[in-house]
Each structure stands twice: as structure tokens, then as C-alpha cells.
């Protein structure tokens, strides 16, 4: 039997690098070994992808779907059922960092294509990813680069590329923005056919050489007849790039940080960790996979259990994975997608180009009530397959004292670590029912119900809000 700490650490890795793993699968992971599991996560291509063809046969509405909820549901289905958890988690990471919103794009299938691009390029070279981002039709439309012309630049893309997607405020001048914008003139999308009554359709990236500014540009100290690719090449070699990316990775995978808009004035909470990630970037020439390898194997990562508030997508997907309520082709993905929005994270529709405000900004009274009711409702439903498995785990330990009931429920849900105050109240709740017995059928039914209520209460705790 692996040590408890090894199990807890593996659960932590799977929550952060994916969307959580049922308790029953953790022992096997631990036997494989932590570093080997990290390698597995870093190589999603070795695991089967979601079978799109099969999925579209069963959910025919998903393919090329027009409406936002169905496109969100398509993504939630993948988050719940993926065998490549880190690939899916990275798609969510890049969606947060390169926030593109349907509020303006108004073309959900095009956003779905952007997310697919994140899956494909999200663990590779940072430079290649930035080039693909610049070619993403949803991004071009979102930041107006189709309106960025030779002799009449629109600097929206150039500005956000430097401010929010790569360098961060304070690491470039207004001239650099203008010159970056000039380098991206001609990076456009194929003309739109009038939308109605034909409805939405895919856009295509189109490079228009006749609209590209061929004159010399000076960008971050370099001078030449730069095109977009050259700009990305210069950006990824700037010292500010790895630092900015490291901070994003730290905030998403390690611990809650202040919002991006304060990064130029507030130092990182763990500067040493940032330095470690920056080194990994430099050593690997900006290879995302290599940086993440260092991150997941670092002590600062291993010591960061429950240091982040779950985003709504993490809370929802993690909860249904634990409860086994949506494994495979089950109805209800639309509701899960809508629930993300109701809790404050409408996928494909982040509130602005800065992405969502994270950490305690996820929490207000309405959102917290929804989070609690969602998790408590799902995990308290003792008819769900995953919940039944959790009850079986508890039952396998035989008759239990109230203390043991609390401990084994916390173990079955994670293992989860809770504050002393929470533990005290869970125990005081458990004490009201006395010891748990499984001999007669009445005892069994009563005990199942009590386990269900304990899972409900744990799911409603403050501690469950953390990943």
C-alpha cells in the first residue's frame, strides 16, 4: 500500500494537471511513480484522443454547432471524458491567457476551432503557438487585425500581443506596438459572406501580401523588414517573455496570484519559483512541455496543495468526474456548460481580453451558493456510480466510529485536506448519528444515507472550493 502522502500528492497532480482522478484510480498511478505519471501527462499523443466521429454520431448537434451553449458543451464533454487530461487543461490555460470572447466574435464554431488549435500546439514551442494564435481567425476578428492595413494600421492586436499575451506592461514602447502592428498588416481572414440568412460559417486565415507593409520596422531594438513570424521570434527571445509566461503558469497551476493587471507593480509571491520556470524556458528554447516538466516536478508545486480556488470549470468537471455522473455519452452536457456560466465562467466568452479574474474573484454570494448547491447536489446523490464507489470504499472498512466516517469520506473524495475548524464541524455532524454499522439491511441503508450526507457536507465546505 502506498503511503498516504504519496496518494495525496498524486491526487494533487491530477487535480492540477487535469480535472481530478477518482480515488480508486490513484493507487495504480502511485505504483507507476510520480515522475512517470508526469511524463505520461506531458505526452498526451500517447493516449487515445476523443473520438470525434463517434461523438458527433451520438451528439449530432455538436458538429459545427452554431449556438454558444452547444459549443461549450462540446468542450465540457472533452474535459470530462478525456484520456489526455493535461492537453485539455492546457487548452483551458491558453483560453484564459489568450482570452477570446464570443461577445464580439459571435462565431462559436470558430472559437471551438481556436480551442482545438490550443490542444494541438499547447504543449509545444511557445513561438509556434504565438504564430498560430496570430493566424487564428477568431483572434484576428477579436482584435481587429482584419482592419489592420498597410498605411492605415489598427494597433489592437499589436498592443494586446505585447501587453497581455507575451511581455506584460512596461516591457515595450508605443513605437514597438505600432511596429508590431505594421508587421502584422495583411494577416487577415477570408471575406465574410453576409451572415443572414445563411447563418454562421467558418472563417479562414488569409495572408494578403498586397496589404502587407513591406517597409523597414524597428521593434524592440531590432530593425528589418519584419513580418509577423519575425515579430514572434523577437518576442520569445525577450527576457520579459519567460517571466510573463512563468507567472501565468504559476497562477494557473500552482497558487492564486494577484490579477494580471497588477503584475507590473506587485512582485510574484514566490520569485524563486518564477526564476526556476524562467530557467526552464531558456534551457529549452521556450518549449512548453519542458517548462511544465520542471513545474510539476518542483517542490514549490508539490507543496502547493489546496493553494488555489477552483475555477467553475474545474469545480464542475472535477465534481462530475468524481461522481461518475457524466462518464461517456450521457445527456446533460448542455447543463454542465450552462452551469459554468452561471457560476461565473462562461466558456468561450471570457469577460475581456484579460481573461477571467481568478482566485477569490470567482467567489460572490450568488456564485458560492451555486458552487455549493451544485457540488452538494451531485456528490450527495447516492444513486450515481462514482458516489456508489465512494460508499463502497467506506463500507469496506466495516463498522466505523464517527471519526472514522469523516476520515474515510475525506479520503474517498480526494484525499481532501480540510481546516481544523471544518474537521471539527464535520465530526460534530457525524457524532449526531453515532457509529456506522452495515449488518442489517436497515443499518446498511441508513449508513449509505449517512455517508451521502457526509459527502454532501464536505462538498459544501469552504475547503472543497480549493484545488
Amino acid at each position: 500500500m502506498p503511503y498516504r502522502e504519496d496518494i495525496a500528492l498524486m491526487a494533487h497532480l491530477m487535480r492540477r494537471a487535469g480535472f481530478g482522478e477518482p480515488r480508486g484510480d490513484l493507487d495504480a498511478r502511485v505504483s507507476t511513480g510520480y515522475e512517470a505519471v508526469v511524463e505520461e501527462l506531458l505526452h498526451p499523443e500517447e493516449q487515445p484522443a476523443i473520438n470525434d466521429e463517434l461523438m458527433y454520431r451520438i451528439f449530432p448537434g455538436y458538429e459545427g454547432a452554431l449556438g454558444p451553449p452547444i459549443n461549450q458543451a462540446d468542450w465540457v464533454y472533452r474535459m470530462v471524458n478525456t484520456k489526455r487530461p493535461l492537453e485539455e487543461k492546457m487548452a483551458l490555460f491558453w483560453h484564459q491567457m489568450f482570452a477570446t470572447s464570443n461577445a464580439k466574435v459571435d462565431n462559436p464554431p470558430e472559437l471551438t476551432r481556436q480551442i482545438a488549435m490550443f490542444r494541438e500546439y499547447g504543449l509545444g514551442s511557445y513561438r509556434d503557438l504565438l504564430v498560430e494564435l496570430a493566424k487564428s481567425p477568431a483572434m484576428i476578428f477579436w482584435l481587429d487585425n482584419h482592419g489592420n492595413h498597410d498605411g492605415a494600421i489598427n494597433e489592437n492586436w499589436g498592443r494586446e500581443l505585447l501587453e497581455l499575451f507575451s511581455l506584460g506592461v512596461g516591457n515595450y514602447t508605443e513605437d514597438d506596438i505600432q511596429n508590431a502592428a505594421r508587421a502584422f498588416t495583411g494577416w487577415s481572414i477570408a471575406p465574410k459572406i453576409p451572415r443572414n440568412p445563411l447563418g454562421r460559417f467558418y472563417w479562414n486565415f488569409e495572408y494578403k501580401p498586397e496589404d502587407h507593409d513591406e517597409a523597414e520596422k524597428t521593434f524592440l531594438g531590432h530593425t528589418g523588414n519584419f513580418n509577423g513570424e519575425d515579430i514572434m521570434g523577437i518576442i520569445v527571445d525577450q527576457p520579459a517573455s519567460p517571466r510573463f509566461l512563468a507567472r501565468h503558469l504559476y497562477r494557473f497551476f500552482v497558487a492564486d496570484e494577484v490579477q494580471v493587471s497588477s503584475w507590473n507593480t506587485t512582485p510574484p509571491i514566490d520569485p524563486e519559483a518564477i526564476e526556476t520556470l524562467v530557467d526552464a524556458y531558456i534551457q529549452s528554447n521556450g518549449d512548453i512541455r519542458s517548462i511544465l516538466r520542471v513545474l510539476f516536478n518542483s517542490d514549490f508545486f508539490k507543496n502547493s496543495q489546496f493553494a488555489r480556488i477552483k475555477s467553475p470549470a474545474e469545480l464542475i468537471v472535477g465534481t462530475v468526474r468524481m461522481a461518475g455522473s457524466h462518464n461517456g455519452f450521457k445527456p446533460g452536457y448542455n447543463n454542465l456548460a450552462l452551469e459554468c456560466g452561471w457560476q461565473g465562467q462562461e466558456l468561450l466568452n471570457p469577460p475581456s481580453v484579460e481573461g477571467w479574474q481568478t482566485g477569490s474573484a470567482w467567489i460572490d454570494a450568488g456564485a458560492l451558493m451555486r458552487r455549493v448547491n451544485f457540488a452538494a447536489g451531485v456528490l450527495g446523490d447516492i444513486s450515481l456510480p462514482g458516489v456508489k464507489v465512494m460508499i463502497e470504499r467506506v463500507r469496506a472498512q466495516g463498522n466505523l466510529s464517527p471519526q472514522a466516517l469523516v476520515a474515510s469520506c475525506l479520503d474517498a473524495m480526494g484525499p481532501l485536506q480540510v481546516s481544523d475548524a471544518t474537521l471539527r464541524e464535520l465530526l460534530s455532524h457525524a457524532l449526531k448519528g453515532g457509529d456506522l454499522a452495515w449488518t442489517t439491511s436497515e443499518e446498511t441503508s441508513d449508513s449509505e444515507n449517512r455517508v451521502g450526507k457526509m459527502l454532501t457536507l464536505i462538498a459544501a465546505s469552504r475547503d472543497y472550493q480549493f484545488a
Binding site: P197, G344, P351, A365, G366, S419, K432, T456, R462, Q465
Partner: protein
Amino acid sequence: MASTKKDPVLVILQLTGANDYLNTIVPYTNPLYWDNRPKVNIPEDQVLPIDDELAFRSDTEQLKAIYDQGNMAIIHGIGFENSPRSHFRAMDIWHTCEPDKIGIDGWVAKVIRDLDPSAENVLKGVNFGQGLPRALTMRGVPVTSVNHLETYGVFSSVRTSEQERAQLLDSFARMYAPAIGTGPTMEYLGQTGLDALKGADIIKVAPERYSSTIEYPNSTIAKALKDVAQVHLADLGTQVFYTSHGPFDTHFNQGGSHAKLWMEISEAVESFFADLREHDAGDNLVMMVFSEFGRRVRDNGTGTDHGAAGVAFVLGERVKGGMYGAYPSLKPEDLTQGDLAPNYDFRGFYSSLVDKWLGLDPVPIVGGQFEQMAFV
């Protein structure tokens, strides 16, 4: 709780999906209307004329009656320049008052903040529906969002006996109670959890206290307005209510669906104001009705596509009824890409309500000075 009965109350009804202005307030004597709407029109025998140019549709006879009593203002040609014809973008603009950039803070949330700067009453603003519209979101402004009033509360999703539920709620309150040395994030979560519990505890008195002879019709909007009435009548200090109805996105087969939506609204609104009158609680409440934009002047055969200018309404005993502004011209040369051109900025409409009804400074809420109208 101190009586706040005479504080002004605003109910916001959002028509989601872009309501067809032309078939709501019908220019029934304008030949251009008939030219442009060969298929998707309100037949002449189904209009209720306001004057010899404009008419209500006959399925909104209850609204027409309210109008005739002088308790309804019609605000013509509302919208904003360069209307994007995208539901999502347009709705965001209405919600944040930011037509040129992506806004984050909602205008209604700013209203709530200014009505209750120390955020004492978690029920100052109440939304009925799933999730919060962006209009109501702003960091530090607590807003209560209720799906079903009868079942609203922590653990409403859990199937259990009443006794067990009470035990769970008791344990929940203890788990969220302040504890020393837990750190700011846990403290914030604790306070927020207790706020949610408190809001639910207070609001549940509303259905308990409520009694009325009015029977609301059976529709989701009637249910939502009945919930609004219950909370308003319970006198819990709520000054802003928000709810939505739809979908108004009538690209195909507009006739039946548009008629049904307006019939539901018309009947629900009649019941709602009758309910308030019965309880002598209508003199401090007005309702505003808006949609993100109107629909294209020319129909597409069975429905209508996305347009620009729309129509808004304000209803209530204290409203100075009548028509405000001008119906935009239907002449081809006056249209903007085939759509009615907006002639009144929606931020002026908001400003009128914020200033003249709620008594707040509208400038920081709508982001500038805009022409107001005197409908309240």
C-alpha cells in the same frame, strides 16, 4: 428591518433575442410598413390603434389598457450608433454602457452600489433567473440571484428530509463561521457563505407572507413577476429587480412565437400591477422593458433578421404615460443598412431612470451625460 416602502423601486425586464419593434408598436397606416412586411406583419384587423399612425398589436390589449390609463411610456427609436447586430455584443453594450470597448462592470450593479454603498442589504438587488446577467456583476456588489423563490437556498439541490436539511444547514453555518487564523481567503469565503445563507433566510419570508387574490397566468414571465411581487411586498429593502423573457430571435416563423411572447408579457404585466394595486404597493415601483436591438425592416419571408433601433417601455402608476421621441423613418434613404436608425441613446434612457426615479447621479453609472426624457 426599517420600512423602506417608499424608496423607489426599479424592475428591469429584458427581452432577450432582439424584439421586433415594427410588430410591437405597429406603424399600421404607413405604406412602407406594408411594402416591407408582405409576410411578417400584424394584419389591420389585429391592431389596437394609439393614433392614426401607430398601434399596439391586439394580443397586447392589457398593455394598451395600461397605456390608456396613462401609466405607460413608449420610448421610440432607442439604441446606439454602429449597432453591432450581434446579440452578445449588443447585450453587453446595454449591460455595461461601453459601446466602444469591452466593459466589465454592469450598470445595474453600479446602481446597487450607489443605493447601498456599504453593501448592508444583500437583497438590495435581486435577479430572477439562472445566473447573473453582466448588468448585475461587479466586484464587491452582492446581488442575490434566485431561480425558484420557493426553493431558493443552500442545499436546495439536495434531496433529503426537512430534519436532515435543517441539520445540514446548521453544520454549514458552523463550518462557515469566523475562525481565528484561517487567513484572508478563508475569511472571505466564510463571510460570503454566511451572506448567501442570510439572503436566503431573509428572502424565504416573502412567499410565507404573501397572499393575494390575483391569479397569475401560467408562463415563465408570469412566474418571475409574481416572484418579484412577493419580494417587493415583503418589504425587504430591495430596490432593483431584474428578470428576462424570450427568446425573441424570430428569424423563422415569427408570427406565432412573437405573438405568444407578447401575449404572455401583456397578461403577466397586467397581473403584476393588479397585484401591487391590491396591496397598495404600486406607487413606488416602475418597470422598464428593453431589448438589445430591433429587427430588420424588410422581412425574410417567415421571420426577420437582426436590426438596429428598438423600442423601450416604462410602466407604473408614477409614469407620465405617452410617447417619447420619434418613430424612426421607414424611408429607404433613412435606413441604416436596411434597419431603422436609432435616434435616442439608451444611456439617456438609463440616465432618466437613474436620475429622476432613483435619485442617483447617472454620470458615473452610464459613463457620461446623455439626453434625458421626462417619463417619470
